[in-house]
Symmetry: C2
Subunit: 339 residues, 2 copies
């Protein structure tokens, strides 16, 4: 019985991708769930009509679980993220987030401005006590099972204590959304030895050894896509947001480049495309902003309908497992045991 | 007329790979050049005999340009890099480097312990004035032409001034070894805007704008393999060694993983192997340790004969372009213009 608010105006392919993604999600989910399409109602309705008259006609039965919520404004890339709440209070993002603080919705999903969504979610939902920043965990496909890389939300110049906070957030995320039991947490560094790394990482290593977490030590760059190192598998990889952002954007660029170069070799491209799709983490859906008291799922700006569909699933899973409360409880326990 | 000293005992595939690489290099280079094989002479000679009696018999004519230099000891992974000069003075690495300080050799190439080679080269050759650390620039294949990523030698916690030093070193390297005219230098960050990045990167951006370099601003993770961004092509990408190390090791792991997954799709693997080889930067040969007064080329531990052959070419190119003096001159000019 969850109500998921979706930013119908956010992302490079809006409103088509969010609306098509919503229809696909509804077809897939238990009929008790509904989706709130937040945006310019006339634009949203017209896009929906056009999709249902065409390629998505077979999904018309799900229309009554789509609800329109009017938001006349849109936050774009020129708006300063930190002031969007005040400058565009009637934007689809702010209206969508406020549905949740008003108790009218259970989760919010958007492919709009990541910076604005992070800032507005933090201000409107507030952080759980014990945290200084929210973080984003990105699920990366690996040779084993997917791992959570946290932070990939561009929190730069992180203190050792903040890296430990990311570890705690990532651990609950892996448990609740990915269903991992006692998730194995590792710290990204330039060697497996505790004395390898920059100053913040070396100190974080020592703190993590004594934190109440299933800490497996350091992993190196090569271990991420392997899903672990020689010591064993890993569920969560902790890094600061500068490193996380550079790595993710680098990773995104590898497959298209390889694809372009392999084209020249004359191999069967359709088979290759299937293989490469496994690496496209954007297809794995959105990432919840971790640490805020609420559910705010951030999607890649380039999200396809399939990515939106997956992000809605992630949001639903966060609602059903009460991940938000779980994070609050876990941080509360830590505070209590430290006292 | 260059004399290249080669660590015959360094690397995972030593002594085979260095010796086979040396033979291949000699076959390829002007006959005026010679190679000094530094190591346990009996082991080296026996491996050489065996190669020339077998698969490399056609290269026997080049044997007289290979000279043996005895070094009874080997630095291994258990030796502390910082003390190797004192603890193993008769190792192939230390003997090989000292040939150059004694004026008996023009360059040194090794696939042995990178840490020991960095430390020993710095102590024995000394740094050019104006530098606080040496750096390693790794040449990465891109969709355009290869770029130099510097530092990839694991200099962590770099100051803004050190990032500028890396930019200067990388610029001379791109000019001399890659033959780029007025190399375009960019700073790796999490956005193109000058105000994006961590504290050190933001300050380095401002310093680089006023440095006497062809500075093109920031690039993001996705721009590295593209060989530039929308503003244009880039020859040198500057980052601290933590980020550089994580990125490189991550990159190394991508091709094997993709290869393994694509295997399942049933495409022609031989064609794929050719395509993937283009991404194997280790095949591009060694990286000179930049900033020391001498030529010390660092190779990947896993170096194949072909990688060693390429590293010898890099060393020769550094000798022929007098890169070392060029770096000293360039840093001297900077010091003069700052005064």
């Amino acid at each position: 019985m969850a109500r998921i608010a979706l930013d119908a105006m956010g992302g490079d392919h809006a409103p088509m991708a969010p609306i098509a993604g919503a229809l696909r999600a509804l077809a897939d989910l238990d009929p008790s769930h509904s989706i709130q399409l937040v945006g310019k109602t006339d634009v949203v309705r017209s896009e929906l009509d056009s999709l249902l008259a065409g390629e998505m006609a077979h999904l018309a039965a799900h229309r009554d679980r789509l609800h329109m919520v009017e938001a006349p404004d849109v936050i774009d890339m020129h708006d300063r993220p930190s002031t969007a709440i005040r400058s565009k209070p009637k934007s689809s993002m702010i209206v969508g987030l406020r549905l949740q603080t008003a108790g009218q919705s259970d989760a919010f999903v958007s492919a709009g401005s990541t910076g604005a969504q992070m800032a507005a979610s933090t201000v409107l939902f507030k952080l759980h006590p014990g945290l200084t920043r929210p973080a984003i965990g990105t699920v990366l496909p690996t040779a084993r099972v997917p791992v959570v890389m946290i932070d990939s939300g561009a929190n730069v110049d992180c203190s050792p204590e903040e890296l430990v906070q990311f570890a705690r957030l990532g651990s609950v995320y892996a448990e609740d959304v990915l269903g991992r039991d006692n998730p194995a947490v590792a710290l990204l560094s330039i060697g497996e030895e505790p004395e390898k790394g920059n100053a913040a990482v070396k100190e974080a290593h020592q703190l993590l050894r004594h934190a109440d977490l299933n800490f497996k030590g350091n992993v190196e760059g090569r271990d991420i896509l392997a899903g672990g190192n020689q010591q064993g598998p890993v569920d969560v990889v902790v890094c600061d947001g500068f490193v996380g952002n550079v790595l993710l954007k680098f990773y995104e660029s590898v497959a298209p480049l390889m694809f372009a170069l392999l084209k020249k070799t004359g191999v069967d491209l359709r088979a290759l495309e299937r293989g490469f799709r496994e690496f496209d983490y954007s297809e794995y859906g959105g990432a919840p902003l971790l640490g805020v008291k609420g559910v705010s799922v951030i999607c890649h700006g380039k999200s396809s309908p399939r990515a939106i569909q997956n992000a809605i699933k992630v949001a639903l899973r966060a609602v059903e497992t009460r991940m938000d409360e779980h994070i609050g409880r876990r941080l509360g326990q830590t505070a209590a045991s430290d006292a």
